[in-house]
Structure formats: structure tokens, C-alpha cells
């Protein structure tokens, strides 16, 4: 039976924990709004880019001169997994679920006899993958000092990946990230970025019978475009990740705050009971003392 003082201390400590989780929840909510806005603002560019890539790739598909980024290297022996996670924890199962998806892919690919290489973006993913697949990690990209994801950050990552591709270090690249659906739902997603899976031509513009003219020409444009496309995909993944992370943290902290509240109620009840028991005991002592006289 804990003493009254113990109980009081425990209530105090749970209460201060609750204050922290509550504050974290509110911070996450504010950050989430900003992250969501950034993700929405980036959408037109990505969508138009997809439209153009779909358009162009349809016109060069099957050409022997089609760029490698689109057609692939001709083999698929080495797979590169780009695992994008957050740098900070305390956001529920967000990071673990992305890592789990990546791990399943690794097991599957290794089962098929492929070579797997991993590039991690964000600290938590590296921490979790290092234990099991430390040997496969080829590179880590630190995002610790990025406060707001800018396109330049994504471009840096894309450049690294493209350099590796040009050096023939891998044939196929997959990107893992948490797609933001809503505050309570973030879906870990895997996406193939190299060779670019030509997105469905969703909105082929109606040309009214006219011919498209290209300057300099289709292949030159694709050569410029495809590396950008990779950059845009990574940028989008990072933005989605940022929003997902805050969403996951918000709901995790909301849960924690609620749990702390329940805990406080329970401890309060226990405290009151103990206090009453003590009063009763003291009364009995006084009464029986008086009777004995």
C-alpha cells in the first residue's frame, strides 16, 4: 500500500507528463497545418510534370534511344531502396510501419536472389535498419537540420541517387515513404522511381489535330526532364512524409494525453481512498482510547 505522499508524488509526475504530451500535440497540430499546406502547394507542379512525362514517354516508348531512366538498364539484379523516415521519434508507429514495409521488400527481393542496397533519408529509418541490414546500407542522407523541406533538399538527394545510377550501382530504385491520407491515417507506400513507371496519361491535352513541336527534340527534353522527375518524386515523398509525421505525432500525443488523464483519475481515486482510510483509522484510535479511560 503506497503512502499518501507517494501517491501525491505520482499524481504530480503524471500530471507534468500530461502537460508535455499536450504541448507536443499542439505543436504537432500547428506544424501539421504548415506541412499540409506545403504538400498541397507542391501538387500542381508534380501533376503537370507527370502529365508531361506520360505524354513524352508514350511517344518515345520502344525507341532504342529511349533514355535509361525511362527504359531501365536492361536488367534488374540490383535494387536500391530509398527509405524516407523522420528524424524524431514519439510519433506512434509511423517510422516502424515504413521500415516494416521496406523490410518485407528486402526479404522478398533477397528471396528472388537480387542484390539489395539501401539509402536512408532521416535518422529513424537508419537506426532501425542498421541492426538487421547494416551491411546493405550504402548511404545515409541526414535531414536533421532541414526545418522546412525545400526543393533544393530533394534535388540534392535526387542528384546523389542519379550519380549512383550513372555509375551503374543499381538497376531499379524504389522509394519508401508515408503517404499522408488524413490525421489518423498515414499509409506506408512503396513506389518505383527508376526506371520511371510512366504514369497513366490522365489528361492528354486535346491538340485539335495539331502536331506537337518539340524544341530541341523529344529525347533532349526527356533527358532534361527525367532527372527532374526523380527529384519531384522525392520532393513529394519528403513533403508527404513531413505531413504524415506530424499527423502521426499528433494522434500519438493525443492518445498519450488521454491515457495520462485516465491515470490521474485512477490515482486520485486511490489517493482519496487512502486518505479516508487514514482518517477512519485515526478516529477509531481516538474513540477506543477514550473508551479505555
Amino acid at each position: 500500500m503506497p503512502s499518501l505522499k507517494d501517491l501525491k508524488n505520482r499524481i504530480g509526475s503524471v500530471r507534468s507528463t500530461q502537460k508535455i504530451t499536450k504541448a507536443m500535440q499542439m505543436v504537432a497540430a500547428a506544424k501539421l497545418r504548415r506541412a499540409e499546406e506545403a504538400a498541397v502547394a507542391a501538387r500542381p507542379y508534380a501533376e503537370r510534370m507527370e502529365g508531361v512525362v506520360a505524354n513524352l514517354s508514350a511517344s518515345v516508348a520502344g525507341n532504342p534511344g529511349a533514355p535509361k531512366l525511362l527504359a531501365g538498364t536492361g536488367s534488374d539484379d540490383t535494387h536500391l531502396l530509398i527509405v524516407a523516415t523522420s528524424d524524431k521519434g514519439l510519433c506512434g508507429g509511423f517510422n516502424s510501419s515504413i521500415v516494416r514495409l521496406a523490410r518485407e521488400a528486402i526479404v522478398r527481393l533477397q528471396g528472388e536472389g537480387k542484390t539489395v542496397k539501401i539509402v536512408t533519408v532521416g535518422k529513424k529509418g537508419r537506426d532501425q535498419l542498421k541492426r538487421l541490414y547494416g551491411g546493405l546500407l550504402v548511404r545515409h542522407i541526414d535531414t536533421m537540420d532541414i526545418k522546412r523541406v525545400a526543393y533544393a533538399d530533394a534535388k540534392g538527394i535526387a542528384d546523389t541517387v542519379l550519380e549512383m545510377f550513372d555509375a551503374g550501382e543499381f538497376d531499379v530504385a524504389h522509394l519508401f515513404y508515408g503517404r499522408y491520407k488524413s490525421v489518423i491515417s498515414q499509409v506506408p507506400t512503396a513506389q518505383q522511381i527508376i526506371p520511371a513507371e510512366a504514369p497513366e496519361a490522365t489528361q492528354t491535352p486535346d491538340l485539335k489535330g495539331a502536331m506537337y513541336e518539340y524544341e530541341p527534340d523529344e529525347e533532349e527534353i526527356l533527358k532534361v526532364l527525367l532527372p527532374r522527375y526523380v527529384g519531384v518524386q522525392i520532393f513529394r515523398a519528403m513533403l508527404e512524409n513531413a505531413a504524415s509525421e506530424q499527423g502521426a505525432r499528433m494522434s500519438a500525443m493525443d492518445n498519450a494525453t488521454r491515457n495520462a488523464g485516465e491515470m490521474i483519475d485512477k490515482l486520485n481515486l486511490q489517493y482519496n481512498r487512502a486518505r479516508q482510510a487514514q482518517i477512519t483509522k485515526e478516529l477509531i484510535e481516538i474513540i477506543s482510547g477514550a473508551e479505555a479511560l
Partner: protein
């Protein structure tokens, strides 16, 4: 000329400009070109430079870098990696861009890259 051209300028981070205009002059890889309403379908990559939007006698200049322009019957879309309105291009922003352009010029290893970097440097210097 009653017709107007629907023009969108988007950068990865946001939509920079969207609206109906009279004419847009785009710095294309093979020379500047102007786009008027009802232009034929056309696609070109961009060189760094000033994009000029003309609308009702007014002119807006926007510095663009890296990307391409896509003309369809629906209008003109410019996707630029970087798009900074000329009026914001001063002080720190300008010097940062200048430094970046000079840096690129140093590192350029292909004729195309060095041409693009030189254009960026020149445009920024003239500004």
C-alpha cells in the same frame, strides 16, 4: 485581340502565377519565343533568364531557371525549378542567386551546362 492566353507558372514549391494574359515571352533553349493566344502545340526546355508576362500594357518579369514550357490549346504552362519575380530579386536573394550561378559556372562540365550557367550569370548581372 479579344483572345487571352491562359498561363500557369509553377515551381516545385508553389504556383507562382496563374491567370489570363496577352502574351508571354519565354527564354527557350534555342532562343526566346513569345507565346500568344492560340499558339500551336509546342514544348521547349528553358534556359535561365527573364520570363516576361505582358497583360493589358503591363509587364511582369520573373526570373526562371531550369525547366520547360508546354504550350497546348488549353494554354501555356511553364514548369520552372526556380521562379523569382524580378521585384523580389534584390539584396540577399540576388546575391545568393549570383553566388549559386557562379558556382554552377565553375562546375559546369558540358557545353550545355556552361551555357546555361553563363546565361544565369549574365541575366543576374544585368538585373
Amino acid at each position: 485581340m479579344a483572345d487571352k492566353l491562359t498561363f500557369n507558372l509553377v515551381s516545385p514549391e508553389k504556383e507562382v502565377y496563374s491567370g489570363e494574359v496577352d502574351q508571354v515571352i519565354v527564354p527557350g533553349t534555342e532562343g526566346e519565343f513569345g507565346v500568344l493566344p492560340n499558339h500551336a502545340p509546342f514544348m521547349s526546355t528553358l534556359l535561365p533568364g527573364m520570363l516576361v508576362i505582358k497583360n493589358g500594357g503591363e509587364e511582369r518579369r520573373i526570373f526562371v531557371q531550369g525547366g520547360f514550357a508546354d504550350v497546348t490549346p488549353a494554354g501555356l504552362t511553364v514548369l520552372a525549378e526556380l521562379a523569382i519575380p524580378a521585384e523580389e530579386l534584390k539584396g540577399e536573394v540576388l546575391s545568393a542567386q549570383k553566388a549559386a550561378a557562379n558556382d554552377q559556372l565553375q562546375k559546369a562540365d558540358t557545353p550545355e551546362a556552361s551555357l546555361a550557367a553563363r546565361r544565369a550569370v549574365d541575366t543576374l548581372a544585368a538585373h
